[in-house]
């Protein structure tokens, strides 16, 4: 499988170790300060400010800390981390090493999704080279007080393990299921140690920010969503692939770039994101509008919105960890509802019940998976009511 990207990526133009070399000379507090000033928010989708996360972990008093790279890229329609790992692994590992110095962690772990097993030997080779080059291991860059190494752990194919606490639970050898929060991983993470869990792309950008400076990064994007972002574009477009756009890009502009201007709707943020109708293509991919991990699925004019809702819900029924009631059974009920809509047997009253159930799932589920699983269904019902209602069973 060959990863591909469209156009030039910033990552190609940056020496992968420039940031690390600079970080070796910097004080821990200054590294975190630089990241904080860049106003970068997590590239996995939830958008937690990276500087704040590092700061919390750095402040935690503990004998041992961990840096974890979330490479469990499982959101439907997301494949940009695959490209990053294949083409810019050095940058990611450099970012992890910088984070290690920032919070005083000695160990980093990459949690790699099972489907990316084919990348394992490549990544191990890159790690070996870095050890040989003195960029990993003890006395990094000749600094005796700076040790850091990275190991890779394989996932086993569960979407839920992309949720950071489930990921940690899985790394500890348990069933991948989200934990109660608080505590947050920065306080009590892997094996109870303070742990920073960041997305693959976040680490890559962190290395770039230290190399080029916070001002370079936050000059791009909007005030609240700074920098560039990689997008995984798929669906009914002429040129699918991985793209780099500034944060805050308008959906219509993005569609123009990828050749999907005749789209009927766009799913921003994967299965757990929002379905945007053509009338709202002026909305932006930004944390203040529609937060996204970079998945953009484009639906052409001939797509049946109920097929789309059904597909997403089938995914969640399958991938719910089964722990909490709203997500485990709620998604089954929503899926049954969509099938009833397809058959034209869902009454208005029952549809209202399902919408209300969707809100309960958003409010009462234990983790982000359950809380976001009804999003697609709710937005499709909201925006495409005439299309989905009144079907007759032929």
């Amino acid at each position: 499988m060959k990863a591909m990207h469209q156009g030039d990526l910033t990552f190609s133009s940056i020496d992968p170790n420039a940031g690390l070399k600079r970080a070796i000379q910097m004080k821990r507090i200054d590294i975190i300060g630089e990241i904080s000033r860049s106003k970068m928010r997590g590239r996995g989708g939830a958008g937690f400010p990276t500087g704040t996360k590092w700061n919390l972990a750095a402040a935690a008093v503990a004998p041992k800390k961990y840096i974890v790279c979330n490479a469990d890229e499982g959101e439907p329609g997301t494949f940009k981390d695959r490209v990053i790992l294949q083409e810019f692994a050095d940058l990611v590992f450099a970012g992890m090493t910088i984070a290690g110095k920032a919070i005083n962690a000695l160990e980093g772990i990459v949690y790699l999704r099972a489907e990316y097993t084919y990348l394992l030997s490549h990544l191990e080779a890159v790690l070996d080279q870095r050890r040989k080059a003195g960029l990993l291991g003890s006395s990094i860059g000749g600094d005796e007080s700076f040790s850091f190494d990275i190991t890779i752990r394989m996932g086993s194919g569960a979407y839920i393990c992309g949720e950071e606490t489930a990921l940690i639970e899985s790394m500890e050898g348990f069933r991948g299921e989200p934990r109660n929060r608080p505590p947050y991983p920065v306080d009590t993470g892997f094996m109870k140690h303070p742990t920073v869990v960041n997305n693959v792309e976040t680490f890559a950008w962190a290395a770039c920010i230290i190399a080029r400076g916070a001002d370079w990064f936050n000059a791009v994007g909007t005030d609240k969503s700074t920098g560039y972002k990689l997008f995984s574009i798929s669906g009914d477009v002429q040129r699918p692939g991985v793209y780099e756009f500034p944060m805050g890009i308008m959906v219509s502009d993005l569609l123009k770039e990828v050749g999907g201007s005749d789209a009927k709707a766009v799913q921003i943020g994967g299965a757990s994101g929002h379905c945007v109708p053509a009338s709202e293509f002026s909305r932006t991919c930004a944390f203040e509008d529609m937060s996204t991990g970079g998945s953009v699925i484009v639906f052409g004019p001939l797509r049946d919105m109920l097929d789309i809702a059904e597909n997403f819900l089938e995914f969640f029924v399958e991938e719910s960890c089964g722990q909490c009631t709203p997500c485990r059974i709620g998604n089954v009920k929503l899926l049954e509802g969509v099938r009833m809509l397809k058959e034209g047997t869902c009454s208005m009253t029952y549809l209202k019940e399902l919408l209300s159930l969707g809100e309960t799932m958003q409010l009462a589920s234990k983790c982000g998976l359950g809380q976001s699983s009804p999003n697609a269904f709710l937005s499709i019902v909201r925006h495409f009511k005439p299309e989905i209602m009144g079907r007759v069973n032929l």
Binding site: R175, N180, Q323, T325, S356, S365
Partner: protein, 644 residues
């Protein structure tokens, strides 16, 4: 907070099943580790880290719970306890939200009520079965909440057919997964409270179910039959294997002589099934109720508890004599001697520590000793054909059902005990017979076994077997009344609910060997100056700690005698006892048991006149003699963890 939650950090459950432990010292800006919060307009100050649920309970605000159980880690998975916390965009589970900053909580807003109702509707949409035909009708927590939240129709449907086969393979525990709501209390009970770990969630999403290893039936896995999961199941997904139909059939058969023996713990708890406060003793009223039900004779298991003390105590004295005086190395290796009364514990050691079975006393449990005597000694004395006797045992225990079905338990020539009944099942029979038990007249037990001693009664509480044994050993060895050493014969060091206990007693002086033991030891001189070391533990999680300590050569390995009980609190917390259970309920039952001991006229096993009669008339070659060995002792099976 209960012990088990305090121990949360060390138990085996994953952290997804735990609540955040908050240190009350390290948080800055909070004086004395306290934090104040507002719940429904009421302000309350609580220690940092208190959960919203705990805070609500101190304010008497009822929050519904299902996956929460105060004996267990906090899972936060059923979501029925959600509340609204101001400034948070989602609802929070009250059971698993530790308060670390001042917050404002609302417990019954529109959002909260809707969410709870939806969660109940979802559970009911996945819960097959009708309440009328359910063993938990009236005591089901799901049913109670459905009523509280006004569920009047199945909003999201209701399954019309069964999707799981009921597992009736075990003599003790029946699993009906159609009724399971996946609260995982059983999983946490099995793994944390008992350290057995038979049950675990498998699969994902709506395929999630509670399963055993490789989804085998319960009889084919390392289940120890303790039934603690039954006591903590909110529905009837787990229940005891109920033989009441067979017991009624025996009672109704004029050809059968149906006798029942009653253990001490059910008496201290059965009142709970009749709306009495926990710890209301019902011994004498229950005797009358049992006769009203149609049992031909009612015996006191405490009689064979006393007999157990004599047999097990003699066995201990013999082991000590052979080890200390005769220098028998093989016997020395079988010290400490382990008790054998708890069938859950016996199966636990058979599975998990089979190399240590030689430590276990060969004495049968009181239930099985009685079974062997009823169909021999009693049958002969009353001139009844033993094949016509149906012997029932009322026990607080689900493992006793398995025990009476062990193939080796036929030393009388018949099945020694035909049926094991739990406290809950007997309460059901009494209800069915229309008997208002608390209002029954009081009546005594039937002869020839009569009323037992206080020593037999305290077998029901953790430490009770040890206390009875010590009372007996002290008097037999020193010839002095135990009251001279321990006030009112209360041996406090072995009492109480701490998970593991150690105690020791030095014999400064010795007396003459009593007649009962003269054939075994010539004198007690060798006991002079000996310090007897004993240990006590309850709950197999604690048993594991003791076993691992012994293996590591720790303080328990220096003991001479250790009492092991499979269930938390001892038999009074058994898997056949009324539901619900909690530490407070178990403590109330313990108080009833110790009160019955203190009101007994005879409080030491070796002074029980009926026991002396049995040795005089029947077991004539004395304690641990040939007849006693044939009828009252048994052997164990090296089961191991791997069952083919």
């Amino acid at each position: 907070m209960t012990n088990s939650i305090d121990n949360c950090s060390s138990c085996r459950s994953p952290k997804s099943m735990k609540v955040h432990e908050v240190s009350t010292q390290t948080q800055t800006g909070q004086i004395g580790g306290q934090v104040s919060l507002v719940i429904d307009g009421k302000t309350i100050k609580v220690p940092l880290g208190t959960t919203i649920l705990e805070a609500c309970r101190t304010l008497n605000i009822r929050i519904p719970t299902l996956c929460y159980h105060e004996d267990l880690c906090v899972a936060g998975i059923c979501r029925i306890c959600v509340v609204e916390v101001e400034k948070m965009h989602t609802l929070q589970a009250a059971c698993s939200f530790p308060v670390t900053a001042p917050i404002v909580v609302h417990t019954h807003t529109r959002k909260v009520r809707h969410a709870r109702r939806h969660i109940l509707d979802l559970m009911l949409s996945d819960h097959y079965g009708e309440c009328y035909s359910c063993s938990r009708n009236g005591t089901c927590e799901l049913q109670t909440l459905a009523q509280e939240y006004g569920v009047d129709f199945y909003r999201f449907g209701h399954p019309s057919e069964s999707t799981h086969k009921v597992d009736r393979s075990s003599h003790s525990v029946v699993r009906d997964m159609d009724k399971c709501i996946l609260c995982r209390r059983c999983v946490r009970t099995c793994i944390d409270l008992q350290e057995v770990g038979v049950l675990e969630a498998i699969n994902r999403g709506d395929h999630t179910k509670i399963s055993t290893f490789m989804d085998k039936q319960l009889a084919d896995v390392v289940c120890i039959n303790c039934g603690q999961c039954i006591n903590r199941c909110p529905t009837a997904a787990l229940k005891a294997n109920d033989p009441t139909d067979d017991v009624w059939a025996a009672i109704d058969d004029p050809d059968k002589h149906v006798v029942i023996q009653t253990a001490p713990s059910p008496r201290a708890a059965i009142g709970e099934c009749f709306d009495l406060e926990p710890g209301t003793p019902m011994t004498w009223q229950m005797n009358t109720a049992l006769r009203e039900c149609g049992f031909d004779a009612v015996f006191d298991t405490n009689f064979t508890a006393d007999l157990t003390i004599i047999e097990e105590g003699t066995e201990l004295i013999l082991r000590l004599y052979k080890a200390l005086v005769q220098g028998d190395q093989k016997v020395a290796e079988s010290l400490p001697q382990f008790t054998s009364c708890s069938p859950g514990w016996v199966k636990y050691i058979e599975h998990f520590y089979p190399d240590y079975l030689h430590h276990v006393s060969s004495a049968k449990s009181p239930q099985q000793m009685f079974g062997a005597l009823i169909k021999t000694y009693y049958a002969k004395k009353r001139n009844i054909d033993p094949s016509k006797i149906v012997s029932v045992a009322l026990m607080p225990c689900s493992a006793k059902k398995f025990e009476c079905n062990r193939p080796e338990m036929v030393d009388s020539g018949y099945k020694d005990i035909d049926y094991g009944l739990t406290t809950r099942e007997l309460a059901k029979m009494i209800h069915e017979a229309g008997i208002d038990m608390p209002k029954m007249e009081k009546s005594d037990f039937d002869d020839p076994f009569g009323t037992a001693t206080g020593s037999g009664v305290i077998f029901g509480a953790s430490g009770g077997v040890m206390e009875s044994a010590l009372r007996c050993v002290v008097e037999l060895v020193t010839g002095e009344a135990v009251e001279n050493i321990f006030e009112n014969a209360r041996i406090e060091p072995v009492r109480g609910f701490e998970g593991t206990k150690l105690a020791e007693l030095t014999f400064d002086k010795v007396g003459p060997v009593p007649d009962l033991l003269k054939h075994l030891v010539p004198n007690w001189d060798w006991m002079k100056g000996v310090t007897l070391k004993v240990g006590v533990c309850h709950g197999t999680a604690n048993a594991k700690k003791v076993m691992d300590d012994i293996i590591a050569g720790g303080p328990f390995s220096k003991c001479h005698f250790i009492e092991f009980m499979a269930c938390p609190g001892g038999c009074l917390g058994g898997g056949g006892q009324p539901i619900p259970t909690s530490e407070a309920i178990r403590a109330a039952r313990a108080r009833a048991i110790y009160a019955e001991d203190e009101s007994s006229t005879v409080r030491k096993s070796h002074l029980n006149p009926a026991i002396l009669d049995v040795y005089h008339e029947f077991l004539t070659d004395g304690p641990c003699g040939k007849t006693a060995h044939k009828l009252l002792h048994t052997h164990y099976i090296r089961r191991g963890k791997y069952i083919m």
